[in-house]
Amino acid sequence: MMSILVFIEQFKGTAAPVSWEVLGKARELADQSGKPLAAVVIGDSVESVAQEAITFGADIVHLVEDASLASYRVDPYAAVVEDLVQSYDPTIVLFAATARGRDLAAVVACDLEAGIAADCIDLALDDGKLVATRTVYAGNMLTTVHFDTPVQVASVRARVFPSPQADPARSGTIKRSGAVLPASDLREEIIGFEEVSTGEVSLTEANIIVSGGRGVARDPETGFAMIRELADTIGGAMGASRAAVDAGYIAYARQVGQTGKMVRPDLYIACGISGAIQHLAGMSDSKVIVAINKDADAPIFSVAGYGIVGDLFEVVPALTLEMKKRLA
């Protein structure tokens, strides 16, 4: 009988928002089968995350705490998840497709000789088995993944499922246990960490993204300053096309597209971006797309809901001003 285990990713005691999105979808699937929904929280002093998992839909939370588990490392975390799969026997194991979640999902699936679907954009059940949808060929195609293994593993991309509402009145069981791998067996040591500057909205978590492309070529510094001001005004993150990154106008960390970040915000404003296929693959699932481009024939207009044909150096500051008026 189908049952689900969801890995809840945390960093310094705060859960990754995408983990709640995955848990919300898992709740839906668990309700279809009538089996309790289990989650696993791994770390050190992370009971609050386990409590939160219950408010977001888990019935049982396996809380695995140990000083050696404070930071994510693949070997001890995988050992915990694999141990749980063996002792509690879930058939479906779900992860968020973050840097850590992708890693962990793959290692767990490989060790358990389980089929895996990475970076899924939809999940469903068919006769008690997981059926996953994912994109392939750089977003140019979709495929449905069916599993032939008793355990089915998937990682799920951020923002494909809505975040569930927390219900503080929900009750559930927390089951505590400790690390599975002895600390002496760990092959990896984290010796430094440099957090991304605070106050900056991460591209993958952003509800709004304003991106710049080759259209800034005339004066890249001013162009991206304008784009940043619009993003700041409407509470968004700043992105860029590959062309802008390759031309050295802005850092690769900003790149949206198949070879950059895959994003799915509520609003995506593309400024001076022509809409190369690799860019479209990374952003065309955005809810509302706005294109600002001098070239009325640019492919970006074929995916946009709204567009202004014009020079971003004129349109972006004007739009920033108008948004400031409305949000004041």
């Binding site: 290692v107 699936a109 392939v136 495929t143 599993f147 440099e194 609003l267 065309s284």
Partner: protein, 266 residues
């Protein structure tokens, strides 16, 4: 120091939009086949590591005879040793089967310290082979690596890019490292390199060659655990673009701002 780079031959990303469902289903993709763009960073990093720490680099791939071109691309960039893993029995494997084939070949090839791969392939988009290789080789897994800081005394120190920031990790060798785009600027194949690659005689190992390392290879031991079905083009976005033109930039910007407020996305 012995470095191995595992690469894949993939369709040219620029031509991906032209690839049809029928072509993928039949296995006959009518697009230019190239070295997987993410693997260019792995090839470059292997060459840089060889410069820094000495030793040998071997590039390998599993694929049909045509995949030799991806190996030749790596040779043209400066890698001396290449290996093609080709056998009809290898077709239809999933990421774990591919990892098993590559890991058996890496073991048979000799000692290894660092195995490099690109972050993912641009066709399958899974990024599973590096984790699979690490587990099957019993090596340390390091993904999302954006800098290799040092290799010394049986340890490798790297910088990894995570959502919240950059982590510096030191880990035991041997290690499987999958690299991100930030790590380097891949060189182009040189003219001399291309000539050398054209003349290169690349050994081919079959299932039989690997059976002494892993007897499951080429048998039914590696049955895919997941199957792709219903390959399809994503549904086109239904909406027609509404072009805002109120005569002046300011008036158009005001109108667009109103539309976005009405959409409740700001």
């Amino acid at each position: 120091m012995n470095f191995v780079v595992c690469v894949k031959q993939t369709p040219d990303t620029a031509e991906m939009s032209k690839i049809s469902v029928a072509e993928v289903s039949s296995g006959d993709i009518k697009a230019t086949l190239v070295l997987n763009p993410w693997d260019e960073y792995a090839v470059e990093e292997a060459l840089l590591l060889q410069d820094r720490f000495g030793g040998e680099v071997t590039v390998m791939t599993t694929g049909p005879e045509t995949a030799t071109d991806a190996l030749k691309d790596a040779i043209a960039r400066g890698i001396k040793n290449a290996l093609l893993l080709d056998d009809p029995a290898f077709s239809g494997t999933d990421a774990w089967g591919t990892a098993a084939i590559l890991s058996a070949a890496i073991r048979k090839n000799g000692d290894f310290d660092v195995v490099l791969t690109g972050k993912m392939s641009v066709d399958g988009n899974s990024g599973l082979v590096a984790p699979g290789l690490a587990r099957k080789l019993g090596a340390t897994l390091l993904t999302q690596v954006t800098r290799i800081l040092d290799i010394a005394d049986g340890m490798i120190t790297v910088e990894r890019q995570l959502e919240e920031g950059r982590e510096i990790v030191t880990a035991t060798l041997p290690a499987v490292v999958s690299v991100g785009k930030e790590i380097n600027e891949p060189r182009y194949p040189s003219f001399m390199g291309i000539r050398k690659a054209a003349r290169a005689d690349i050994p081919v190992w079959s299932a039989q060659d690997l059976a002494s390392i892993d007897p499951l290879i080429g048998t039914n031991g590696y049955v895919p655990g997941a199957r792709w079905t219903d390959l399809r083009k994503p549904p086109a976005r239904a909406s027609e673009v509404v072009l805002v033109d109120e005569g002046s930039v300011d008036a158009s910007a005001a109108k667009l701002a109103d539309l976005l407020m009405a959409e409740k996305v700001v």
